[in-house]
């Protein structure tokens, strides 16, 4: 029932466009009948998210969400932006895994232009509410800010 490890999926299909990846994620989530299965999958994703290197788990990289902390690190590899991230809460980490899968290893320009509607479509909208104290809204903003910054660098 539960799809295979998302990270592996991501490695195999690393050159997919953001839109395609998002559609793939929507497909995966459409297999679940109820919230329990969705959450179990997210927790699974959270547990399998590659750990961010400790050297990047600094206060500079922290996004304070009041309740759960989120760390994001970005670096440019060739013309693509690679994100690593972490959180101290596992459900938050699961959503980070989904976001990383959609946005990491993409061109900064594509990241800037990408939307995040797919989160609504997989039934996780509540986690991206600006009033939710989990740091995810700030995280997306941060991913886009990194993309803007590196886009300028590429030019």
């Amino acid at each position: 029932m539960i799809p295979k490890n998302s990270y592996c999926t991501f490695v195999e299909k690393r050159y997919m466009q953001i839109k395609e990846i998002q559609e793939e994620i929507i497909d995966e989530f459409s297999m679940f009948d109820d919230w329990m299965q969705r959450y179990e999958y997210m927790i699974e994703l959270g547990k399998s998210l590659p750990l961010i290197e400790d050297t990047y788990k600094t206060d500079d990289n922290i996004i304070k969400g009041c309740q759960s902390k989120v760390w994001v690190h970005a670096e440019l590899k060739d013309d693509k932006l690679v994100f690593t991230a972490d959180s101290d809460a596992i459900i938050t980490k699961g959503i980070i895994a989904i976001l990383i899968r959609a946005f990491s290893n993409q061109k900064p320009k594509d990241i800037i232009e990408a939307d995040t509607d797919f989160i609504d479509k997989i039934g996780l909208k509540e986690h991206l509410s600006p009033t939710r104290a989990n740091g995810l809204v700030s995280m997306i903003k941060q991913l886009k800010l990194y993309a803007v910054a590196y886009q300028t660098q590429i030019k």
Partner: protein
Amino acid sequence: MSWLSGIFVYHYIDMLDINKIRKDFPILKRKVNGQPLVYLDNAATSQTPKQVIDVIVDYYENYNANIHRGVHALSQEATDKYEQARIKIQKHFNAAKTHEIIFTSGTTHSINLVANGFSSILEKGDEVLVSAMEHHSNIVPWQMLCKRTGAVLKVIPMNQEGELLMDVYDELLTKKTKLVFCNHISNALGTINPIEEIIEKAHSIGAAVLIDGAQAAPHIVADVQTLDVDFYTCSAHKVCGPTGVGMLYGKEEWLKKLPPYQGGGEMIAEVTFEKTTYADLPHKFEAGTPNICGGISFGAALDYMNSIGFEEIAKYEHELLLYATQELLKIDGLKIYGTAKNKTSVISFNIDGIHPYDIGTILDKLGIAVRTGHHCAQPIMDFYKIPGTVRASFSFYNTKEEVDVLVQGVRRARNMLL
């Protein structure tokens, strides 16, 4: 926990007709995420009974008008009801005089009013004591006050159980101490603080005492004259009333001494461009159009709770607390923070290896409302070296069955998350 407590649970369930009481609260019928709502976030805000909702509706449907000074009938009716509510609050807390009750927007406003007033009283080198288990709203105004006046903020520490170290308090009290500030009950831990002793000792060296009764008001009736407290404050929304309204009790002598907090209409006696003379108490502290409907329904909320009876409420909630504590502690790796001998129906807990936010998220999916995070009391979380806790807080309209749903929910969350 002896077998006896189980009997008491049923005993008090019989004494309070919980099913009848629950019918007073329309919100308790609703579903959340497809599940019946189990509302266990009462320490953050209590739910509102029909009796209070009716008063709110009646106000807007029948006599909504600005109060004081109005010559027309509606204004007079609204003024009478508002002032009657002040008398209800006065009687509830046994204040000596009606004008010792100031309507505020809530506890935070009350505290800021007093802290601001003390700006003109404190001098450099004076000391203000606060307890280690304060809500942020009780720390920040005093820090600001100390910054303005050059006074020094000192902290009364607590032990691992979440009880204040009263011997250290004795040492901290000196001639320099001008003000002592402490909550009656801790919002994060549920500890009932020994405020009688705190007040008496502070008075013995001439310091004033402000007690934050926000968490205490739904469980205990504070008699401000017996306590001999200088200031006491609470918010209506914790005692089945509406949000955005609360009260400050202050001894007349203190309220006369403190300067007004905000300038505006209602608080003046006479105004020219050269000089303004302030209105008498309580209006001196009530600038602008107040929360009229809020004040009136605050009074109705106290009526409602008194009709059930605070003594019965306290006994029943205590039994719920014992039962919930006993059942939660059966879960592997669950630790409760705040194990004071004297505590109210608040349980702050964590499970080894799980972030409180994750537990709260799963419980929400099950229709169970709890609070997660630092509960606006970061110093307490720093003390225990944790990012936060899950907090379940019980009210008189909660049931033993709801405690069972919580315990099952926590078990389920644990299985999913570990």
